[in-house]
């Protein structure tokens, strides 16, 4: 069960896959919410929530594999410039796809049909018994975990058990993904500037990265939910999400590379 990381350098013809030679040493998740809470005299609460995402701390190593360390250094440079990556704890379990009719997924739903996966480059698929996560957009950020009962790859119909607890009906989108697959990650703002690769006498190397789910990117991909990402650039047009990331990495000229919607200057 080796971990894998995918990322695309600007200008590269296709995605880079970094297959780690060993499982991750650790992966811990916390939920980060940008919210303001006020309480009345009687303790009644009022909150505004503007942003929510998962933040994971990934540890890998120690490793002696010099080529792996070199690849990780390139990845860290990419992330420090604002790039994104995908991470799978188990590279065979790296499937994620958007639900094609969220309105039908209510409390007690035991399955749904999905769009084709935009992350087809991973080559993974769902199998009965896989641990999966259902998640929605920020700031509501509905999230629950269940297990695949069955999956029909032709019609992309998945069933799961236990049934959903939450009411997904009014969500803008709903993502089904392997529990250990993180399809849009960027380095947490607070973590940048710290060298995440440490060594002991240049013999043992270890990695500790703090990564945030890029909820904006998941939003953007959801606009064209079945357009493949990280495609070979010779075989098709880049997606809006890829243009956005390219804009972020390359800069948008005088007006700066926008963190959001950078490819769409000018509005209406």
């Amino acid at each position: 069960m080796s971990a894998a990381i995918w990322w695309t350098a600007p200008g590269a013809p296709a995605a880079t896959k970094l297959s780690l030679s060993a499982p991750l040493a650790d992966l811990q998740r916390v939920e980060v919410r940008d919210e303001v809470v006020e309480e009345s005299l009687t303790g009644a609460e009022s909150r505004t929530v503007t942003r929510t995402r998962s933040r994971i701390t990934v540890k890998y190593g120690p490793t002696h594999n010099a080529s792996e360390v070199r690849a990780l250094e390139a990845l860290v440079g990419h992330l420090d410039r604002g790039g994104t990556c995908q991470l799978a704890e188990d590279e065979s379990q790296a499937y994620a796809a958007y639900v094609d009719s969220v309105a039908t997924v209510d409390h007690g739903s035991a399955g749904t049909s999905m769009y084709a996966t935009p992350w087809a480059h991973s080559g993974a698929t769902l199998t009965a018994g896989d641990d999966i996560v259902l998640q929605g957009p920020s700031p509501k950020y509905l999230r629950e975990r269940t297990v695949v009962g069955s999956y029909l790859s032709n019609s992309r119909i998945v069933t799961w058990s236990p049934a959903t607890y939450f009411r997904w009906t009014y969500q803008e989108w709903m993502l089904v993904r392997h529990w250990g697959f993180w399809p849009a990650l960027r380095r947490a703002k607070e973590d940048r500037g710290r060298n995440p690769i440490r060594h002991t006498a240049r013999r043992h190397w270890s990695l500790e990265l703090v990564l945030d789910e890029d909820m904006s990117l998941l939003d953007l991909i959801a606009q064209t939910p079945d357009q493949p990402l990280l495609i070979d650039s010779a075989s098709g047009a880049p997606s809006e999400a890829e243009l956005e990331e390219l804009s972020r990495l390359e800069g948008g000229g005088m007006l700066g590379g926008g963190a959001l919607g950078g490819g769409r200057w000018g509005g209406a």
């Binding site: 009345s40 009687t42 009644a44 505004t48 503007t50 904006s216 953007l220 926008g258 200057w265 509005g267």
Partner: protein, 550 residues
């Protein structure tokens, strides 16, 4: 139009997930650069995601007690990066939209309107956009008119003050007036008359109204008596006539006519109107405010007169001054412009009660005002003309020329002492004939209204304004800043009331001993609103202690 009930209900939810859109309002000006800036992606809309909801400050407007002049607010919104500056113009009308959860753009509700003031990058390299509230940013017209050359004067009332000369002798009472050229004379279509000031060779200038122009050299339907308390005298060929921007109406109606390009008040000539779209003005709400004031007869005499003899380039000041003299102010409510007026507290309907479950925090000042007045004196323009003007007054009160020049000053609040005759003024002393209790105390709060017409009608105006303003001048108010949970209070604006239900042990006040009835009484909101993006609403309020004799 008020917000839909579902939106208000959503504003009251314990968990708020706001999404804001700041976008341009298209007026049709050639120089407009449409934009839609959003904090969250909006399905189906061509937007740029730049706005940072965490760095947003909406400063609400407030009204100044006693003078009842309105100070407009502003909006600052952080941008995640720069925006396309090419073609962007200061003064573009913008609207702040809000949705609570996923919504298509048509389902967002307008919560604020303003004009684009500044886009800036600070030393911290962070971008921000600043907007001024629309009611405080009214200057000149937004739109060029058909046939305008580049650079044509966009001033309001730009033809006002155009002069011509008589081409035939005029005898006082004539129903026609012959001039060299009627060009520059305008009137509100269907509802008004042309205002003409005649400066005779012999005698004082006077004002006539004409029903219309016939051809290019004749006015017909000329009034036999003078307008604005002037008396026509004979005039001869060659005497100067000056065309005015003239209207007689309730000040709230005049304000709407000046603001709007279309809708109910489309009657003004294009150069008299700022050209705002009708959906930015809440006619139903403005009507309700006017009706709440006791003088409901808004279209009959007495005539509240707008008479401009020069172009106006500061429309906000014109409207603020005009409205404040009647105890009205132009403000925003639920994302639209409207008017509010000072009323007796008991006349304002209580629509919102805040309980301890709603109150997050408050601060209290026992003495909220500067001075207590002994009473209120309201005089009108007629009394000023008819009465004996102070000799030191630089304005010639007997001259209609002085009348025009004086309009701005009269409405501006900086009034010289006015000698008034008893029959032409309305005085209200403090309740029970007692003087003020707090020091320093002042004399009578004075106010002069630009109304003309019959004595009885003028008295109606004076009484109405005096009654509404009396208590707020002669009793020193308490001042309370109230922060409430949620945003449903955003339905209210300055001039409305809110009734907090205080826990009895929490506050003693000048409104009596530990009596929940008085403490639970309504507070007059004079400023504030929702603290976007914080989940609270903060109001600055005034409370009115009972009179000594009560």
């Amino acid at each position: 139009m008020s917000w839909p009930a579902a939106f208000v209900a959503a504003l009251a939810a314990p968990v708020l997930e706001p999404r804001f859109v700041l976008r341009s309002v298209t007026l049709g000006a050639s120089w407009e650069q449409p934009f839609t800036w959003a904090t969250h992606r909006v399905a189906g809309a061509d937007q740029v995601l730049v706005a940072d909801p965490g760095r947003m400050t909406l400063r609400h407007g407030s009204v100044q007690p006693v003078s009842w002049r309105w100070s407009a607010g502003s909006l600052t919104m952080g941008l995640l990066h720069g925006v396309d500056l090419v073609g962007l113009a200061r003064g573009q009308v913008v609207e702040l939209l809000l949705a609570l959860g996923p919504a298509d753009l048509p389902d967002y509700e307008r919560v604020w309107v303003g004009t684009l003031e500044q886009v800036a990058m600070g030393a911290d390299r962070r971008w921000s956009v600043t907007c001024r509230a629309l009611e405080g940013a009214l200057t000149t017209r937004w739109l060029a008119l058909d046939g305008d050359e580049l650079g044509a004067d966009p001033s309001l009332f730009r033809e006002a003050g155009t002069t011509s000369t008589l081409t035939a002798n005029y005898t006082a009472g004539d129903s026609t007036l012959y001039v060299a050229d009627t060009d520059g004379a305008s009137r509100p279509a269907g509802i008004g008359a042309i205002g003409i000031r005649v400066t005779p060779t012999t005698g004082d200038p006077f004002v006539l109204t004409a029903a219309d122009a016939l051809g290019t050299t004749e006015f017909i339907g000329v009034s036999s008596t003078g307008a604005m308390d002037t008396t026509p005298v004979d005039a001869v060929i060659g005497d100067t006539v000056t065309y005015l921007a003239y209207d007689e109406a309730h000040p709230a109606d005049i304000a709407a006519r000046v603001l709007l390009a279309s809708g109910l008040y489309s009657a003004y000539p294009q150069t008299w109107s700022l050209g705002l779209p009708g959906h930015l003005w809440d006619q139903v709400d403005a009507d309700a405010q006017v009706e709440l004031a006791t003088l409901a007869a808004r279209t009959t005499s007495p005539a509240w007169v707008l008479a401009e003899d020069r172009p106006v380039r500061a429309a906000s000041e014109l409207l603020t001054s005009m409205l404040s003299s009647a105890g009205f102010w132009l403000c925003q409510r639920q994302g639209q412009l409207t008017v509010r007026a000072v009323h007796r507290l008991e006349d304002i309907p209580v629509t919102h009660v805040a309980t301890a479950s709603d109150i997050v925090r408050w601060s209290y000042q026992a003495f909220g005002g500067e001075v207590e007045y002994r009473g209120v004196t309201v005089s009108d323009r007629g009394s000023r003309v008819a009465g004996s003007a102070p000799a030191t007054n630089s304005i010639d009160d007997y001259s209609p020329v002085g009348v025009w020049a004086a309009i701005h000053e009269l409405l501006g609040g900086a009034l010289p002492p006015v000698a008034t005759e008893a029959s032409e003024s309305t005085s209200f002393g403090a309740i029970g004939g007692q003087g003020p209790r707090s020091l320093p105390s002042a004399g009578y709060h004075q106010r002069t209204l630009p109304v003309y017409g019959t004595t009885a009608d003028r008295a109606a105006w004076r009484t109405e304004v005096a009654l509404r303003t009396l208590n707020w001048c002669t009793r020193l108010t308490e001042s309370i800043t109230l922060t409430l949970r949620g945003w449903q209070w955003a339905e209210l604006t300055a001039g409305d009331v809110i009734a907090p239900s205080w826990p009895a042990e929490l506050l003693t006040s000048r409104r009596g001993p530990d009596d929940p009835a008085t403490k639970g009484g309504p507070l007059l909101i004079i400023g504030g609103g929702p603290d976007y993006p914080r989940p609270t609403t903060t109001f600055q309020c005034l409370a009115l202690p009972p009179a000594d004799t009560e």
